[in-house]
């Protein structure tokens, strides 16, 4: 009864595809677009892709299914969902700490993510007006050396995120993902087609997909495991929060498969959009974030119709960032509003303001605070990244797998999973009980040692 009431206060996704689009939007972010293709290309191409797909099956999907089960069971924010699932399984309510850690991680990530997403927004206009007179590295330096500029675009991005989340599940996030995700798909296909016609597509295919097992090392496995875990937005409460709004008649397992497949597909398409252009202009494919802001801008400056294609590319990045950022804000907003502490609108405003303040620290890390360390040898932005991505997310993901694998009552799990092939169910149980916690624990351990 209580759950019904709380569900009503948040609302629910309308239709099967809204959850899938929202969760895919959460999973597909800037990291997919510049991270996956590069890792694939430098770690054995097709061999890496195969290992990555294996890791998605044994780590990513089991944890994603676990998060959705916990979220949908309660229909609440991650904190209350964990507490609810723990109490119903006769475990300690202290498990809610996983929800707190996820929300905290989301806030930290969004604080620097919005600064980087703000740069993407800024680049839409830079790419449209760039004549090539200023070299792309100088252009990038000029963008990041101005605190006012960074804070302006960071503010704009946070305001956009807050406005969407404050409008609610149906009218805000649900409506926006139905616009943003098809737009992302359309822009991605357009970019791939453009690269297919004009870029060095054959070289990109060979770079991304030609299997080279001689390049596969233990580090490759670690990279594939990390990519599989981080790319699906696990451990930060986003998928759990979105799962809470999933209709009861929607299949958890097949929806998770669809989300993971779309996430992988978009990451591969991103590689097929970016690398043909990079290779065509003899640019370096291994420059991480610099790949999009320096190398790609340099390519757009040189290519025909670059002032049209460039802005489209940065719109694509901004859309991917926005669909992820709303999922980072949602868990905290859901908690404050369902507890009746603040209205949804006010919760979104207060948390966004706090994130905005934190984000200023990250914006200043590019310039005036570049030498200010919060954690030894890490500036403000790197410290936020370290705490969230290297500590909180792996810990959260591992604890979720341990909770569902070892502590959650099986009848509750069965209720949420519904009719599923028994062998598939047992396999999932095995992965979530043993393999996923061990692998995520290993990722966590290797980040330090």
């Amino acid at each position: 009864m209580e759950i019904q009431k709380q569900l009503k206060s948040h609302g629910a996704w309308i239709g099967k595809w809204t959850f899938i689009l929202a969760a895919t939007g959460s999973a597909v972010g800037l990291g997919n677009i510049w991270g996956f293709p590069y890792k694939a290309g430098t770690n054995g191409g097709g061999a890496f892709v195969l290992i990555y797909l294996g890791c998605i099956l044994i780590i990513g999907l089991p944890i994603m299914i676990s998060e959705i089960i916990i979220g949908r069971k309660a229909g609440n924010s991650p904190i209350n969902a964990m507490k609810n699932a723990a109490l119903e399984s006769k475990s300690s309510s202290a498990w809610q700490i996983v929800g707190w850690s996820g929300i905290f991680a989301g806030i930290l990530i969004l604080s620097f993510y919005s600064v980087i997403a703000g740069i993407c927004l800024n680049y839409i206009f830079i790419a449209a007006s760039s004549s090539g007179a200023v070299s792309s590295p100088d252009q990038f330096s000029s963008v990041i050396s101005s605190p006012v500029n960074l804070i302006f675009w960071h503010t704009l991005f946070i305001v956009m995120t807050a406005l969407i989340v404050s409008a609610g599940i149906k009218d805000g996030i649900g409506r926006m993902v139905k616009i943003l995700m098809p737009m992302l798909g359309f822009l991605m296909i357009f970019m791939v087609v453009y690269s297919m016609i004009n870029g060095d597509f054959t070289k990109a295919i060979s770079f991304l997909f030609a299997p080279d097992f001689s390049n596969v090392t233990s580090d490759t496995l670690l990279q594939a495991m990390g990519q599989a875990f981080f790319s699906l937005s696990l451990g930060m409460g986003s998928i759990m929060a979105y799962g809470a709004y999933m209709p009861k008649d929607q299949q958890v397992v097949s929806s998770s498969f669809t989300v993971a497949s779309l996430d992988t597909l978009i990451a591969m398409l991103a590689g097929l959009a970016i690398f043909p252009i990079i290779f065509a202009f003899n640019l370096e494919p291994n420059s991480g974030p610099g790949l999009v802001f320096v190398s790609m801008l340099s390519a757009f400056n040189q290519m025909q119709f670059g002032q049209f294609i460039g802005p489209l590319f940065f719109i694509l990045l901004s859309v991917a960032a926005l669909s992820s950022s709303i999922s980072l804000l949602e868990p905290g907003v859901a908690y404050l509003s369902e507890e009746g502490i603040l209205s949804r609108k006010r919760s979104a405003q207060i948390i966004s303001f706090f994130i905005w303040i934190l984000g200023i620290g990250s914006a200043l890390s590019f310039n005036v605070w570049s030498d200010v360390d919060i954690i030894p040898d890490k500036n403000f932005l790197d410290s936020m990244d370290f705490i969230a991505n290297q500590i909180l997310l792996p810990l959260g993901g591992m604890l979720i797998a341990i909770f569902v694998g070892w502590f959650m009552k099986e009848s509750l799990i069965r209720d949420e999973i519904g009719q599923t092939n028994n062998a598939l169910y047992l396999m999932w149980r095995f992965f979530v009980k043993f393999i996923a916690p061990l692998c995520v624990g290993y990722i966590f351990y290797r980040q330090f040692f």
Binding site: V193, M196, I197, N198, G199, D200, F201, T202, K203, I205, P276, A280
Partner: protein, 153 residues
């Protein structure tokens, strides 16, 4: 298996060569790539000629069937002409005509009186199959246009 399932199974099996022959050039490049595209056009010309012939088997007393017979012959002739284009090495033109022909044949079939009464599954399958075949030719066109992969460059 019902008749629509059989049609879609064979239909998608028939699509496999289109898919493979449009992907092979991107993987192998060079002479093999060029040959794959020529095979794709040749296979397309056979299928298009076959499709044109199918219209002769449609119900004779359906409205506009006399016109359909003429249009069907036209498609068979276009199918044959694609082989001639290959002979004259007009590959890009042959690919372009293939895209247009397969899509337009779908619209031609859809416009017939009896198509309205076909099973919904068949209608969906026909739409999807025509789209996939057109995409496979577009992928080959991109290979041919692309300055880094065109075997004639």
């Amino acid at each position: 298996m019902n008749i629509n399932t059989i049609k879609s199974t064979y239909g998608y099996l028939g699509f496999t060569p289109f898919a493979l022959l449009s992907i092979i050039p991107w993987i192998t490049g060079g002479h093999i790539g060029q040959t794959a595209i020529i095979f794709q056009i040749a296979y397309g010309s056979i299928i298009l000629t076959f499709l044109g012939g199918i219209s002769w088997g449609w119900r004779d007393d359906q409205p506009q069937q006399k016109k359909n017979l003429s249009i069907g012959i036209l498609y068979s002739l276009v199918g044959c002409s694609m082989l001639i284009l290959i002979y004259f090495n007009l590959i890009l033109l042959a690919l372009l005509i293939s895209v247009i022909s397969f899509q337009s044949f779908y619209y031609f079939e859809k416009s017939t009186h009896d198509f309205k009464y076909k099973h919904e599954d068949y209608k969906k399958f026909r739409r999807m199959l025509s789209l996939l075949v057109a995409i496979s030719f577009l992928i080959s066109m991109a290979y041919w246009i692309n300055p880094y992969s065109n075997p004639l460059n």
